[in-house]
Every structure is written in C-alpha cells, then in structure tokens.
Symmetry: C2
Subunit: 421 residues, 2 copies
C-alpha cells in the first residue's frame, strides 16, 4: 500500500469517527455550527480570495477556458453568497429524528420509521469551489460527516475554505474530520477513495459526464448521480398557445446551459400550424436555432432538419429540436425512447390528458402547465439542493436534506416474543 | 461479444420492454395476475415436482449436504405455500401511485411525491427455488419486471416454475419478458448481467456472503444487499430479569440459523449476577453454548472465554457471547464497534435509557423490550419481504413492496414560469 493510500484511508477513518459525533448533535447545536461556519467564511474572506488568486493565475497559465475561469473565481459577493447559503441551511427544518410513520402490530408492538443520517458522504467535484462549503453545510445539517475531493484547479481555494470551516468546527469542539478535504486531486486518489467501502456510505459526483462515468464504473460504494437532462415539453392539441410559448421561452432561453433546460418540443399535429408559426419568430428573437422533423419543415421551411442524434442531444445551448406527433401516445413513446428520465412538461387544457401524462411518464419530475426550469430543489421547496439523481435508487430527481438521510425501524414493546414457548 | 452475452442482453432488453407494460397495469389487473400465478403453480405441481426430482438426483450425485438438499426440495406442501404467498401478495396494498406528500409553493405550484416502480429488478439467488415465484410476485405487484438468475442446483425446478408463471402471463396477454429466468448459471453469466446498466435498475443478491461480496465487487448496477446479522441484546440495570430471559431465549433459540437471531448479550454489571445465574441453566437446557468475557467467567465459571473474534462472529448456531458492561454508554460503544447495523435490543424499565438507546443506536431495527426475531418484513407489518438491507442507501432493514418503488415529483401549475420576462 502506498503512503498516499494509507493517508486517504486514515483521513476516511477520522471522518467516520467524526460522523458518529455529528450524528448525535442536536438541531440547535448544528444550527449554531452552521452560523459560525458562515461567519468564519466572511472573517477569513481575504485568505480565501488570496488562495483563489493563486489558483486563477495557475489556471490562466494552463490556458483554461473563460467559462472554466468564471466557475473558479471567488470574490466578495460570491463568498457572501456562500455564507448566506450556510445561514439558509441553518434555517431549514432538521430531517434527522423525524418519525415518518408509526403503526401498531396485532401483538401490541409499536413500529415507526425514523430518519437517521447516512454517515459519511463523499463528494467528488470539479472546478466550483463554493461546493466545498455548500456540501459541508448540507451534510452537517443532515447529521453526516463529509469527505470532499475537489478539482485540481481549485486546490488552494478549497484548502482555504476548509481551513476556515475547521476553525468553526474547533470553536464548537468538534473534530476536524467532520469536514475532511482530501489533499490530493489526481484520478488515482479518486480510485482509492471509491474502494473505502467500510468507511464511506455514499459517493456523490458532481461535474462533467466523464467524471461521473469514471466514478460509476469504478466505485464499490453506492453512487448517486445524474448524467444529463434531455427535457421535453409536449404541446397538446388543447394547449393555450400563449402559455405554451411562455413556458417554452422560459424552459429554453432563461438558462440554456443547465440540465433542466428544454431540448425538444413535441407538438400535437392539430395545433402545430398555429403554435409553430406564432412561436418561431419569438424563438428567433431570442436567438434560438431550430431543428425540425420532416413535418415541422413543411411549416417552418427555413429551419434545419433534426436527425436521430438531435433527439438524443443535450444541447446545453440555444438550439431546440421540434417534432410533430399525432397523439399523447406518440409523445409519451418519444419521451420513453429519447428522454433521460429527468424532467418533462405537458401543456394542455384537457383534464384527461393531464392525468394520463402524469400517470404514464415516469421521469423524475413531471409537470403540467409549468416550466421545466422548476425542476430544482430550491424551486420545488426542498430548501437547498445537494444534487439531482436520474437513477431511481435511493433518490430520484432533485435531492435536498432528506436525501442525505435514511430510515431505521424503531420498535417499542412490553416483552413480546415471536415464538411463545 | 460471445453468443451467450448477446443472449443475456437480448433477454434483458425483452425484460425492460415488458417492464414498461407492467408499470402501467392497474391494481386489479396485477392482483388478478397474481391469483392466476398461484393457480398455475398448483395446476402444474406435478411438472414442478418432476423437475425438482431431477435436480435432487443430480444434487445427491454431486454430494450436496443434507442442509442444501433440504433447501432444494419441493413437495406438495411447499408448492402450496408458494401459491399461498402469491395470494397474500395479491391482497397487499399496491404501493404504485401512492402520493406520499403534497405541498404548495408560494407561486401556486402544487408539488407531490408519487411512488412509481423501479423498472427491472434483477435477483441473483442460490438454492431455494421458491424465491423464483416469491420474487416474481413481489416485483410484479410493485409494477416491476424481474430478471432472475437462480442457482445451478435448482436449474430444472426454477425452469419449471418459470414455465408455469409464463402460462399465467400469457393468459393475461402479458409478455413473457416480465418474468425472465436466465438460462445459464455460471458466475461468468452473473458478471455479464452486472454490466447491463442501461437495462437493469437494481440487483438484489440473496445467498451466502461469498455470492453477495462477488456481486457487490463486480456490479456497475446499484446493489441492495446484506452481509450478516450480528445482533445484540443489552440487559440494562433496570431490566425485568424474566422478560430479559424470555427475549433472550426467543432471540437466540427460536431459529439460531437466521440473520435476526442474537449473537451477543451485553449485561449491565449491576444486574449481571442475578441475570446470569438465573439465565445460565435455562440457556443450558436449550443447548446453548456460552462464551463470556473475563468478568462473566467470574460469575459463570465453567464457560469458555469469548475473544475478539467471538464478538464479531455471526455464529448461526446455538452459541452465545456474553459481555458485562458498566453503562449504557459502553453497550452502545460495543454495538458500534462489533455490530453489523442489523438489529439491536434493549431490555429496560427505565424511560430515559429506552429513549437514549433508541436515539443513539442507528442499526436498521432498534427494539425496546421485544425480541430481535421481530426484525422481519412480515413481523413488522410490511406484508412480505423481498430481502433485508444493511447498507443505508435506498432501504435500510427489512424491505417490503415499498422498497421496490421510487418516488417521482408531480408538479401541477397554471402556466408558471421561473423567470418572468
């Protein structure tokens, strides 16, 4: 075993030990800790900005793209936002200890489900350094310890944030292991982390599809992940055309680079002419490039053809595919074939079709007459989001604090035995 | 790609296709199907017994142990029990479609969690052929298709059971893929299954620790598993001695070979003398071999010493380790160090200690004054059990029909957009 691998394991062991202390903190203790964490981020703002400056000059030297640099930058407003996020997490209800259901058995046993922390949560993430404090806040509030492995570009920034947070832990007499930042950033280190099955309970990767696939391929620890969002909006024959256009513009244009943005619009043939001729100039005004099926091209003659690959694509840009369908059945079948189980919208005034779409489409978020952009932990009312899952095990869709807990059975009796002698 | 691997993938593809049909069945349709499945098992009883006879004669030829042979045997009472199990599953409430929570957002959006099937559930199991029909019943009732890979010893029996169940599917015009039995039994076939990430949603291995570790090491698909049960009973200073003895005898002796049987009893030093001198002859009468810590051996002089390995052991036999502790704290620490997160009991008359044990012990089932043997899906009121999970992701503890579902977000609006223009 290499020295480094010993080190990673030793760090995970300290994190695990800390997790059993964090699991027992009261809600008040956790909330005070989060407030202190917010305070030290502001107190040590200059150290964090200095560290970030070092990361940025390295990144520029390595020729990182402007988009990557932008994700990396920490300045006063961004650090204030990180602090505010921690304060907001402090104000969320504590999921730990919640009894979600209680029932009695015929023999008098009282059985309950009760939420408990997961234990140690490993986050593997790329350039954005704010994930360091966001993840620490969410994991601690839900009674877990966190084992963080950030990206190499943000190495110094993450270290400075972790240093600040360790001051907060120290002032509450909590072990530094509760927020563990792994000091190595190569993929070999990830590989080693992914085999610490006795010490880490779940791995949440956040970043590009390459990183997420690497984690999923190599992990022996359960992984919660999401690859991509190919989100659809179906404009039913009975749709309110203006509403359908508003929802389309919001879904496609308000932030095209995120996973809950629309990629494909499915239009019922009975309304296609009216809807498309009215929507096209508005989309054009917003700079959207349209690609359509053969039937769409008969209505909008100047647009590009959409091929099979287009319907599978997550454009992450202002491109939209259009397909005309003859029924709700065909829309549902298209989503089942090309979708990514992320988020789907129906725009309709028809009661039966709204019900049928909600019943038959089993993506993580299914909406009637609302924008796909609401598929987000904050917008749905989960308070804050640790990530989003498009695999169905444990959590499906946006994940808030509850997704960082599990449930145990609590059984209270008066001496009941199963096989009376 | 070998011909077989193509075959396995093709079968999984058929199973996946069937899963989207099964997911849409109404509760009535599913219940009728399960009733028919029960009926055909009885109708084709003789074919199943004949197939089982072939397996048994092979097993005897291969020198299988009596215990293994016993698990393999199918006779009229056992087939009737399988049919009854299917009828009982038909009578359980349908988890699919259940809205577990609904709330409104300030903008008027109505958000709900709704249960949906997982999709395709793969079961990998060893000798007991009844798992074939039990798993099929539970998976279909929860709206899933099932991909079964049974043990080589039960090859013909499993095939005969699957044939019967396919008759039931056919008579309800459902595709045979809904219950897929993989016709190969070697480990290579398991390896190939475990890489079908796009076709299978979850893998549940049932059998020896070797099989379960193999599945967990090699799966790219999420796995729900449990390795072993090292269950504890803590006899607190305030315990009712007779109750503690009744619970111990039930927990240890009613079925020592199962995972919810007790392995270690922790006794508070203030009650140790009274409890142990009263319990020892009763345990002896039940044929239990005792192993104790140094302090126990001062009270029960004739017993064997318990070493470190004993406290980690899942005996699966009539052996019990005993340790004397000085406090609830020490009991909780012992469980954290040696336990398997399965099931723990406290026997106490003290209100504060009962609460503290329930709060601090985060095993999957924690009981006050009740036998560890209640840690079972049927006994806790889940209706039927597909397995038990000692990992915390998705499910923790006994798993019933609900554990075979996930939840989607259902959002209903009136045209809400996230960023009004």
């Amino acid at each position: 075993m290499s020295e480094r691998s010993y080190h990673l394991k030793e760090l995970a062991r300290e994190c695990r030990k800390a997790s059993s202390i964090v699991a027992q903190l009261s809600t008040t203790e956790k909330n005070k800790l989060l407030q202190t964490m917010a305070k030290v981020l502001l107190d040590q703002k200059q150290d964090i900005i200095d560290a970030n400056t070092r990361d940025l000059s390295k990144a520029r030297g390595n020729g990182l793209s402007d988009a990557m640099i932008d994700r990396l930058v920490l300045n006063t407003p961004r650090i204030e936002k990180m602090a505010t996020a921690l304060q907001e997490i402090a104000e969320l209800p504590d999921p730990v200890g919640e009894i979600t259901k209680t029932w009695y058995r015929p023999n008098g046993l009282q059985v309950s489900y009760q939420r408990i922390p997961l234990g140690v949560i490993a986050m593997i993430y790329e350039s954005r350094p704010n994930v360091t404090s966001d993840a620490a806040g969410l994991c601690l509030k839900s009674g877990n310890a966190v084992y963080l492995r950030g990206g190499s570009e943000a190495f110094s920034s993450n270290q400075a944030i972790a240093d600040a947070l360790h001051h907060a832990l120290e002032s509450h007499r909590l072990p530094p292991g509760a927020i563990t930042l792994v000091p190595t950033t190569d993929r070999e280190a990830i590989l080693e982390m992914l085999h610490l099955t006795d010490l880490i309970d779940v791995v949440i990767p956040r970043g590009g599809e390459g990183l997420i696939r690497f984690v999923n391929e190599n992990s022996r620890i359960p992984v919660i992940k999401h690859y991509k969002g190919v989100c659809h909006q179906f404009v039913d024959a009975s749709a309110d055309v203006d509403m359908a256009i508003d929802l389309l513009i919001d879904g496609k244009c308000s932030r095209p680079g995120v996973c809950n943005a629309l990629e494909t619009i499915l239009v019922h043939s009975q309304i296609a002419d009216t809807f498309l001729t009215k929507a096209a100039p508005i989309l054009d005004h917003h700079g959207v490039t349209l690609k359509g099926c053969q039937r769409t091209m008969r209505i909008l003659e100047s647009i590009q053809p959409a091929n099979e690959d287009d319907f599978f694509a997550e454009y992450l840009s202002l491109t939209l595919s259009i397909k005309i369908v003859d029924s709700l059945d065909q829309a549902v079948a298209h989503i089942a074939e090309y979708g990514s189980d992320h988020t789907e919208v129906i725009v309709t005034q028809d009661y039966a079709n709204a019900r049928e779409f909600l019943r038959r489409v089993n993506s993580s978020v299914v909406l009637v007459n609302a924008s796909s952009r609401f598929s987000d932990g904050g917008e749905l009312g989960l308070g804050a989001e640790i990530g989003i899952s498009t695999t169905k095990l444990h959590a499906f869709g946006p994940m808030g604090l509850q997704a960082l807990t599990t449930k145990k059975f609590v059984v209270q009796g008066d001496g009941q035995v199963r096989h009376p002698l």
